[in-house]
Subunit: 312 residues, 4 copies
């Protein structure tokens, strides 16, 4: 039980510090945050242990959201703290969390606010989702950077150029060659998250496996309704009164991955397929950009085929 | 072309009347309305012919909603007129419409505001949809009357009694016997519309066929997602971020009938199955009562497996 | 009663044509439409007279939406017909409608689908609404053309350039001079509709009067809540759980003009003013673009300080 | 610093327990919960101190939601723990929290799941909100009990009777006498929360002050739009495209209290005042019942004139 010794030691320090800091003013505009996502089987003391770890190292918790599922006994937590005066450096934090993770059998991810994720946006010809992401980025609405746009057609090059983002045209052609090229581009640009913005190609199972929970797709229906091709035609055919769009992580099973975000819009008999497509475009971009925002803020935890989204 | 003669004749009358009535004040609170629903292949002159028919017989159109589907070439119309000073009696109107229907190959239905449809509500044990319908009725929100509540369990008897509506308990038991009893009850109460308010029995194909487009069911999911049993469990399992409810006409194919109305609500990872069921109950009653209201206002036309809903 | 003679004459012709055309197939993809908007005190025969006018001149009505307000006795109608084989030319149609308008005391507007309205978008520095309009336009979603972008700052020039739309920078400075310049630009570009896309200047009463019901503004609140400056700050202060955006015609009274469209989004205590602004931007662009689309499709009638929106 | 001694002592115990319990299974269906709401100026160590307090007394945290407002530096927390094996009894918990509250200058409230709040519903003649609350209660959807219905008219007596809830008719008449009677009824029934379900009387400032943040009202508009009388008439007059309803705590300023929940519905020009009222009734009951549910689950904290709602 390795955690015992550091814990007890730290607590002594903590108690001393407690006296000193008790009336210390809150650091009101922290410039540096760490976000910890934790996921494990629930047991008593998890919140206390993790919040105490932050406290006794002089971190101030600014946001904590924790949930235990009664039916599965699963524990999920998102903890954000101000690291401005934290005693441990990043390696130290990781080491300490590693020890606790072993003790408690935690799955965890740690993110620092100044280590901004780098995105690749994959597109084909439809521009609306790409514009929305690039605009959100340029308005400072995303906690990450769009490093490159990859497309299997050249049409959207000028859009990327307008926003000063590199554009790489990789024609579909030979599957293996394109994938190798894609992987090279992602590596070259330091990409950690791929966003499929109405990208009309299917990624290989190997690629999907390597990028598990790091590829976000937009499907133009309210999943699980209307999987597969031409969902607006399907919706028109079925006569639904509401259509939707779904952002999800890509898995080997098409349109079956964990859902991050969904939105809907009312339609009527007056809406032909073209109207559904237009209304759908509005939904697609909203939903995809929101899902990307949530992912970049480290608000999404995947458990099985479901997500826990600690949204603001 | 039988329509020619009456049309021309009526127009002469119409022109005379035109002069006389030109500055006549609008009858502002008409107590008697007729609602005509029409559905046919589109051809020129339909609106003119029908509105002229109303006009030259001294009816005043108070609401007209017409739509032609570009892709199918199908024409749909809902026409409401004030019959306070109409020249033709009800039989005369039906006769005239019959002639026009033959000429134009129309499907049509005609309803008079004072001939209120009579409903049977079918229920089992869940009270929420039943309460909602009975309350809406007692508040004067429905253009029809709840004539009887039919249930395969006795539990909801006091609810019906509270609203002074007859309650008939028909245990599920022998299928043929219960159906015979149901048919007898509907006949006895002059019922023209059946509403399945979380009724947990399946109606026979013969019954469904006899009551085509006159049985309204509420399904507790956003169809076509989660057909069949336990949709909230399915929704929880799939991890959707939005749940829904769907009111539809019952057809021989379970959960496949023409959709009248749908609504949705956001859910999160914090919502267990019980929470989904609670949020769902709120949706189910809203959606079912709205669908019943639309049906009773003669706003719903069925074409194939889709509905045209001329909602206010 | 001038209308009588042409009416009777036309009807004779109409009856002949009636026989000939009766089984003529519907012209399924009409390329030319006329849209008539009518607004008057209700009297009997209006729909019949107007639809008959279309019919006897060989027009086919493809969409008709009519509503009479019971409380005010006001009649509103939107009538769209296919003019492919219409007997009258545009001047002829206008002349005939002029006669009917006098007889019935109608207010009316007539629009032909190939006479596309030309828009000026007024902006300052915020790009989101401008992008949305330009993107909608480039996707063919608007029934009109963005002729020019006018801004009191140069910042958005590259956005207009990216979409190949002329950009005119008119610094705020001298009020009279800028307004004169604005009027000249609008005239030069044949503009008929002005859209204020988060334009941070107030137009003069004279300008507003000259462009009555032809200037569309987006206000970043759910009007009439939070009129005036800094509505997101006001919303945060009041602790509302839902924020909104409102598109309206500009009148002399700030934020008081007839409302065309509104939308809302949920917010929570976690949303600071910046979050409200971000969520608000998403609403503002949606609502403004929808309002512009509705206006360009000639779906909006103004009566007093309210609009009738015949939306699809 | 009184908190130091118990803290250190408890921690020694905690460390021992830590070893013993480490792999103890989660108590999966805790029957007893405590909910702590805390509100104070933020300082470091708050979450650690409070979660550690729970941990070292053998409580298991099942839900924790914490938020610090960057702009005001205010800290809000809702902490739910399983008390099945808790070392302290209720008096002990309150004593310990009292000590911590002094040290940290906390505002706090503590609730035990088996101490169900008792509600009085105040009504006049409109039944819809009352039915909704009574039905929700009878379906087990509320974490509290409806102890009594108080009305200034006798009409709703049968509704209360149907749900087996005592009904007290207190005619409006003499203000002082009715208020005295109301206070007596609340005392007699052990009421801790009053819900105004379309209650058409104004409570006295003294009454409101005595029941601060314990009276929930439903206002039939989207506040702050349309304060005061006849909001649906106001909405119709202003021509809004969306209407709403707002549940809020009652304060001395009419319609100005802290907002708990809001919802909206689309309306169109076809909706007369009666339609707005009907759509509004659907909103009012939803919003009021949701607000009551949130309050009874101890999810609502008031700070100034705003609420923090930790909703599920």
């Amino acid at each position: 039980m390795r955690i015992r010794a550091p814990r007890r030691g730290a607590l002594r320090v903590g108690c001393v510090r407690f006296i000193l800091d008790f009336f210390a003013p809150l650091n009101e505009t922290p410039v540096t945050h760490a976000t910890l996502l934790v996921d494990c089987q629930d047991r008593t003391g998890l919140v206390a242990a993790l919040s105490d770890f932050v406290f006794r190292n002089d971190g101030n918790i600014v946001d904590l959201d924790q949930h235990s599922e009664p039916d599965t006994g699963r524990f999920f937590m998102r903890l954000v703290w101000d690291t401005a005066r934290f005693r441990l450096d990043r390696a130290g934090i990781r080491a300490a969390l590693g020890v606790m993770a072993q003790a408690y059998d935690l799955r965890w991810r740690l993110h620092f606010a100044d280590e901004r994720p780098r995105l690749a946006v994959f597109a084909t010809k439809a521009p609306h989702c790409l514009y929305d992401l690039l605009l959100a980025h340029s308005l400072g609405e995303l906690a990450g950077d769009i490093a490159v746009v990859v497309a299997n057609h050249p049409d959207l090059g000028p859009v990327a150029a307008h926003f000063d983002v590199p554009f790489v045209h990789i024609p579909a052609g030979d599957k293996a060659a394109s994938e190798a090229r894609q992987r090279a581009v992602l590596a070259e640009h330091g990409v950690t998250v791929a966003v499929l913005a109405r990208y009309m190609q299917i990624l290989s199972p190997a690629f999907v496996a390597d990028w598990e929970h790091r590829i976000i797709n937009i499907h133009h229906s309210f999943l699980p309704a209307f999987v597969g091709a031409k969902p607006y035609h399907q919706a028109r055919e079925r006569g639904v009164k509401i259509i939707g769009a779904t952002a999800h992580y890509v898995t080997a099973d098409l349109d079956q991955g964990p859902i991050i975000e969904q939105a809907v819009a009312r339609v009527s008999h007056r809406d032909g397929v073209e109207d559904l497509q237009r209304k759908g475009r509005e939904l697609e971009r909203q939903v995809l950009t929101r899902a990307v925002r949530l992912h970049l803020q480290h608000r999404v935890l995947v458990h099985g085929n479901r997500t826990v989204v600690f949204d603001g």
